[in-house]
């Protein structure tokens, strides 16, 4: 009798699980459809993008990639990709240095005013950036930096992304203090503790920081719109905007979809190779998005 019951509930659970799977898969297909359609449509001839909502292209062509790659004002997407990669690389270096330094100070060192500065840092975490926008622009303009990468990259060396400082503080606090103490007894200075104990042990948090710095710099549009004024300095996201006309009309849809598809590849690769760091970053700080 009892066994029969178990078999029954077993079957019922299995049916419920199958239904849940089915539901999640169907909903998931809906979620992914726009992106899948975009990637596939980028291989369709321009005139068929408009007439074919399906996923399987009737004719495959690379024409959109050729026309899209030509870019804007004589600068090709090759240059735009190189520009974006360069900015991301420098931004990552900047954030790794400056944010870990600040985080180490907040998490481990004792100094007058630590609580006060930490509170200030937490407030800047929530502060809408728009209140600093105009003066920063004026300041960078007097430095002659508008039109260069400096307004975007220099702040990274000054730990302005409080999100990462917070993330790293949380992580460093979770490391056992005995490690530092042992190193100090062995004659390590505070700098030594930082480079030999904290940094090697904080690698997961450093990867998360580098990862999100890359994605946010790659996807950033607002700062690129403000500061990158010459086509040869454009990032990929700034260059994609040139496909959209002033009234919002798009002339070369095929090229736009092709370059948009290409622009997503780095994020995809990073996401699928570094998934656990994503989850860690999102759950410890509630990273925006």
């Amino acid at each position: 009798m009892e066994r029969e019951n178990n078999v029954k509930t077993g079957t019922r659970t299995r049916i419920r699980h199958t239904l849940t799977h089915l539901f999640i898969i169907i909903l998931g297909l809906f979620m992914i459809y726009p992106i899948a359609w975009m990637s596939i449509s980028s291989f369709k001839p321009n005139n068929m993008i408009f007439s074919d909502p399906g996923l399987i292209p009737k004719t495959v062509t690379l024409e959109n990639y050729v026309t899209g790659w030509k870019g804007y004002a004589g600068t090709t997407f090759g240059r735009f990709f190189a520009n974006s990669l360069f900015m991301c690389a420098v931004a990552i270096i900047g954030n790794l240095i400056s944010c870990t330094m600040a985080a180490y100070a907040f998490a481990r060192l004792k100094f007058a005013g630590r609580g006060f500065w930490f509170a200030i840092m937490m407030i800047t975490l929530m502060l809408p950036g728009h209140v600093t926008l105009v003066p920063r622009y004026i300041l960078f303009n007097t430095f002659g930096w508008v039109g260069t990468y400096l307004p975007i990259l220099v702040p990274k060396f000054l730990a302005t992304d409080a999100f990462f400082v917070f993330l790293l503080v949380q992580f460093i606090r979770s490391l056992p203090k005995e490690l530092d103490e042992a190193a100090t007894i062995d004659g390590c200075s505070q700098v030594g503790v930082f480079t030999r104990i904290i940094l090697p042990n904080a690698v997961p948090a450093l990867v998360t920081t580098a990862l999100f710095t890359f994605l946010w710099t790659w996807d950033d549009f607002f700062n690129h719109l403000l500061y990158l004024t010459k086509p040869e300095t454009f990032s990929v996201s700034r260059a994609l905007r040139t496909f959209v006309g002033d009234a919002g009309a798009v002339s070369n849809w095929g090229g736009a979809l092709a370059m948009s598809t290409l622009s997503m590849i780095p994020a995809f690769i990073l996401f699928f190779s570094l998934q656990k760091y994503f989850v860690q970053g999102i759950t410890t700080t509630g990273l925006k998005g």
């Binding site: 600040a102 209140v131 926008l133 948009s260």
Partner: protein, 322 residues
């Protein structure tokens, strides 16, 4: 000598801390504190980027320019004696932004929670599903997706192709019709529920399964369990998601900018606050006015966050007792 050693001692105790803090401190002073004070001052002036030498203190002029229409003004005299026209689009941008925030944030959180609960089961492949559902969030903020969104909701876009094959005719261009344009942006935001979902999922994992089992023994059904166990125990996470999503929704920019081609869309139906601020500050170079707008945005976000946090003790529980 004694005093000297005091200073040395102070330096020795604090030098390392401030050395490591130096980059952040410099960044805070030069790129946050000074700009904030400066922009507060600019907000009371008629600073124009093309003629900074003509800058004059105009008191609350910029703020009257924003909110004048509430009192039926169309122009007014500033403290310098000049006539100033009110901003006819400011209130529109405010209402567009409020509609967007108050619709998209709750919908996004409800969706995120529903999907998180669906995935909080002992299912095979949950990690894979979670990854798939996160993809829109991963890419959603990009220009690429905004360009795609135009294509989906245009008059001859993907959605209308589908609806056409289902036999619908006379379909509107969703992006170009002021009645619907904002809703395509709401949909775009709700679509990116991935981060909230992952945070909810982490929160749900913390709730002991025994609570549900005990409730089931006491005869509580799933709905009752949801409201008596899940919601109260998850409430700190809900509060966190609510505050973070609200703050970022008020600052949404890229999608509206791309979809409107750098403007506020048809009849300014997608004129987000930050987009209006950008147009005022950078297209018209009225940076004094843009600074004043930024401060109002800060106030709005601050007040709403304070209200949410203050009222949170009515519905958020921090695990008082087992």
């Amino acid at each position: 000598m004694r005093k000297m050693s005091g200073i040395v001692k102070f330096l020795r105790n604090n030098a390392a801390g401030y050395m490591f803090l130096a980059p952040w401190l410099l960044g805070f002073l030069v790129l946050t504190l000074y700009p904030m004070i400066y922009s507060l001052w600019l907000g009371f002036t008629n600073y124009n980027f093309t003629k900074p030498d003509a800058t004059q203190w105009i008191g609350l002029g910029n703020y009257v320019k924003m909110f004048g229409p509430v009192f039926g003004l169309s122009e007014f005299t500033t403290s310098t004696g000049d006539m100033m026209r009110i901003d006819p689009y400011y209130l529109k941008s405010l209402s567009v932004t409020f509609t967007y925030v108050f619709v998209s944030v709750p919908l996004k959180l409800i969706f995120a929670l529903a999907v998180a609960m669906l995935m909080n089961q002992k299912l095979r492949g949950v990690a894979f599903y979670r990854a798939v559902y996160y993809i829109p969030t991963l890419l959603g903020g990009s220009v690429a997706i905004a360009v795609l969104w135009r294509k989906l909701f245009e008059k001859d876009g993907l959605l209308n192709m589908f609806l056409g094959t289902l036999g619908f005719t006379n379909l509107p261009g969703w992006i170009t019709n002021p009645k619907y344009a904002l809703w395509t942006l709401v949909l775009l935001t709700v679509w990116q529920f991935g981060s909230s979902m992952i945070i909810f999922l982490a929160g749900l994992k913390q709730i002991p399964q025994e609570y549900y089992e005990a409730a089931a023994v006491d005869g509580a059904n799933k709905v009752r369990q949801f409201f008596a166990i899940t919601i109260p125990l998850l409430s700190p996470v809900i509060l966190f998601n609510l505050v973070m999503q609200m703050i970022s929704a008020f600052q949404a920019f890229t999608q509206a900018y791309i979809i409107g081609g750098g403007r506020g869309g048809v009849l300014n139906s997608t004129l987000f606050y930050t987009l209006h601020l950008y147009i005022q500050g950078w297209a018209y170079r009225e940076m004094g006015y843009a600074s004043a707008m930024a401060w109002v945005l800060l106030l709005i976000i601050g007040v709403l966050t304070a209200i949410v946090l203050r009222t949170s003790n009515l519905w958020v529980s921090y695990g008082t007792g087992e």
